[in-house]
């Protein structure tokens, strides 16, 4: 670490754009398209023109499928689906095409597509617009799924995603993106508040962006009593909980930001599990058949004597802010589960 390194202070959403700008300037194969892209990404449009920054009809099946074809035939498309919830409409392009082609072609054909979408809740938009869905997507072999928790990782993972030879789903959490909160939550209203973790929403980003390798977790905090693992906003909730556990309960937690849901950093997970023997997964996605269960399985295969617990979303996300706050993973719930785990 040299203090003199160049960088700039950016929001998480801007950091993703920053990496895209660099990639587009360096590589004419990189193009961006998706719903409302000409307005949402007008910064890119006025710099790279309508040939490389394109709007699409509301036709997820068609433009996601076209993204796969474009990637197969020589472009490096970044296909934007406004909300990951809408990805479900065109899922076949990822599930049956992008994820399968490298294997089906005997490794002869790769699909360098990036699918960019927002995810996550905490602003009262309910379960058709606030899902995490990284578990669903990570369940598709052949896809990588990354979820940055801060601007530096947002830029670094975007750069890695664009450079990757295979399909990558890049999910940015709306609570960490000022633009999306303004759009979808009406955050310009002074009479509404959101529990935005500041360290996730803005931060220094290296200029030019540095690759954050896909599949590499980051240890954010070290402690011997338990290991808390999460992605996205969950990382910040976990860090807040870890501080409370230390301050009031004399428990020291390791906190791991997985950064990539698939491929999981199995080595980092197992190392932390072996060191602490107690693992808590904090997952904003649905509890069943997802990230938390996968981590339990990975640990059970390697370290059979680890105690395990999880804090996850256990139902469809409701509209009412109070109901929503109660079901999304919070520092309070993480502290309570941690205490039970360490009892």
């Amino acid at each position: 670490m040299t203090g003199a390194r160049r960088g700039r202070e950016l929001g998480l959403g801007e950091a993703g754009d920053f990496a895209i700008e660099h990639a587009m300037a360096d590589d004419p194969r990189v193009i961006v398209f998706g719903e409302d892209v000409p307005m949402i990404r007008r910064n890119l449009l006025v710099r790279f023109g309508p040939n490389r920054v394109r709007g699409t009809p509301i036709s997820e099946s068609a433009f996601l499928g076209a993204g796969v074809g474009a990637a197969m035939a020589g472009l490096r498309p970044i296909v934007e689906v406004m909300l990951v919830d809408f990805l479900a409409v065109g899922l076949s392009a990822l599930q049956n095409e992008a994820g399968k082609l490298e294997t089906f072609s005997g490794g002869r054909w790769k699909v360098p597509i990036v699918v960019r979408a927002t995810c996550g809740g905490g602003y009262g938009d309910a379960g058709q617009h606030e899902q995490a869905l990284w578990g669903l997507l990570a369940g598709i072999p052949g896809l990588s799924v990354v979820v940055p928790s801060n601007p530096a990782d947002a830029a670094g993972l975007m750069r890695a995603a664009i450079e990757a030879e295979g399909p990558v789903v890049y999910l940015e959490h709306k609570l960490l993106s000022a633009m999306w909160l303004e759009w979808l939550a009406g955050s310009r209203r002074r009479n509404v508040t959101f529990d935005v973790p500041p360290a996730g929403a803005t931060g220094m980003v290296p200029d030019p962006p540095e690759v954050v390798p896909i599949g590499k977790a980051r240890v954010c905090r070290e402690g011997a009593d338990l290991a808390i693992m999460s992605v996205g906003v969950g990382v910040h909730r976990s860090l807040a909980a870890a501080e409370r556990l230390a301050a009031t309960h004399h428990l020291e937690a390791t906190v791991i930001d997985l950064r990539t849901v698939t491929p999981l950093d199995v080595a980092a997970i197992c190392r932390a599990a072996a060191q602490t023997r107690r693992v808590l997964v904090v997952d904003e996605d649905f509890i069943a058949f997802g990230l938390s269960g996968e981590i339990a399985a990975v640990i059970a295969e390697a370290e059979p004597v680890v105690r395990f617990a999880r804090v996850a979303t256990e139902q469809t996300i409701p509209y009412a802010r109070a109901l929503e706050a109660a079901i999304l993973p919070s520092a309070e719930r993480i502290v309570a589960r941690s205490l039970a785990l360490c009892a």
């Binding site: 790279f48 490389r52 938009d125 058709q128 009406g186």
Partner: protein, 347 residues
């Protein structure tokens, strides 16, 4: 016979009454949103009243409606309890859906009315409703409401075909505001929507939403046809979207406020100059595209000649208009005040 009689008697007063109630309720929701009492993306149906009411007026017990993300107007028109709706917006346990659904996910099982925030979904749901009508309650019909942006969604086009081949009793109502969020729909839509529907074998018509009587007549033909078991129809209703896609729409803000527009164009101009990117011609095209979108949005106002309430009021006696509007306001105010009191928020 029945058809001819009803065509002769457009219930203009009743249409106006319902539209006034829909408008008053939407405006009240806008106020609640600005007070911070409604969360998420609030899509109001101001400007669509003629399209909604002209169709819903024909519905009776046993009929069903599948609605998009602008879900309150059809429910208000159908008679869903205003207080239950208001409480739902406030996320209260006594709301229509116990605070779980909110404005984009409103469900009134008593009226077979269901909404969805997924663009295009309403058309498919309506096909399913219509299948149940066909098999269990012949003579009843399903209506789907969606925007012209949804008409490019694969599932919607599939639904048109399904309704055609199964001869389903459904009316597809496409509210054409010419905007899909920030996208000018004409730029993203090949061909014409009525021709698309006709290509699937559905009769299709196009009417102005600010002439609710015309909507009513077109809907009468389509719904009678469906009730008689003669299959689905497609109706395009031209409407205005004066508040943008949702409340606090950035595009509307930039378009309506010269200072914001100026600041935005300076920012974009700075962004287009001086850094690595495409050649100048491409950048200029990009800048022109953004500018065109903003200037087009500037023209999206609800002028009196396109406001279904104003246009309809001109055909009614002034004293009736005043009485109906004040009664609608009173009824909505009463429901909102009661809901606020129950939720413990100041009126």
């Amino acid at each position: 016979m029945a058809l001819r009689r009803r065509q002769a008697q457009v219930p203009l007063l009743r249409l106006f009454q319902t539209m006034a109630e829909v408008r008053a309720f939407e405006e009240a929701l806008g106020d609640l949103y600005r007070r911070g009492l409604i969360s998420g993306e609030l899509h109001l149906g101001i400007g669509e009243e003629g399209a909604i009411v002209g169709v819903v007026d024909h519905l009776r017990d046993g009929d069903s409606i599948a609605i998009d993300h602008r879900s309150t107007p059809p429910l208000v028109a159908r008679g869903t309890d205003l207080q239950a709706l208001a409480l739902e917006m406030l996320g209260h346990p006594e709301g229509l859906c116990h605070g779980q659904g909110g404005h984009m996910h409103l469900f009134d099982p008593d009226r077979l009315a269901a909404s969805s925030g997924i663009v295009g979904a309403a058309a498919c749901t309506a096909c399913g409703f219509a299948l149940a009508h066909q098999q269990q309650r012949a003579g009843s019909v399903a209506v789907a409401f969606f925007g012209e942006g949804a008409a490019n969604q694969g599932m919607l086009l599939e639904a048109l075909n399904l309704a055609s081949v199964w001869r389903l009793p459904v009316l597809f109502v496409c509210k054409d505001s010419r905007w899909a969020i920030t996208t000018r729909s004409a730029r993203m839509t090949g061909g014409s929507l009525t021709r698309r529907a006709r290509a699937f074998g559905l009769p299709a018509a196009e009417v102005d939403g600010h002439r609710p009587w015309a909507v009513w007549k077109a809907a009468a033909r389509a719904i009678d046809r469906a009730r008689q078991g003669r299959g689905a129809s497609f109706l395009v209703v031209r409407v205005k979207r004066p508040r943008g896609h949702f409340e606090d729409d950035e595009l509307v803000r930039v378009a309506r406020h010269p200072r914001e527009a100026l600041r935005e164009s300076r920012r974009l101009l700075a962004g287009t100059l001086g850094c690595r990117g495409s050649e100048a011609g491409e950048r200029a095209l990009g800048l022109m595209e953004v500018t065109r979108t903003i200037t087009t949005a500037m023209g999206e106002q609800l002028t009196p000649s396109h406001d279904p309430l104003v246009v309809t009021a001109r055909r009614l006696a002034p004293q009736d208009v005043a009485a109906i509007r004040s009664e609608a306001t009173r009824k909505v105010d009463e429901a909102i005040s009661a809901a606020l009191a129950i939720a413990g928020a100041p009126s």
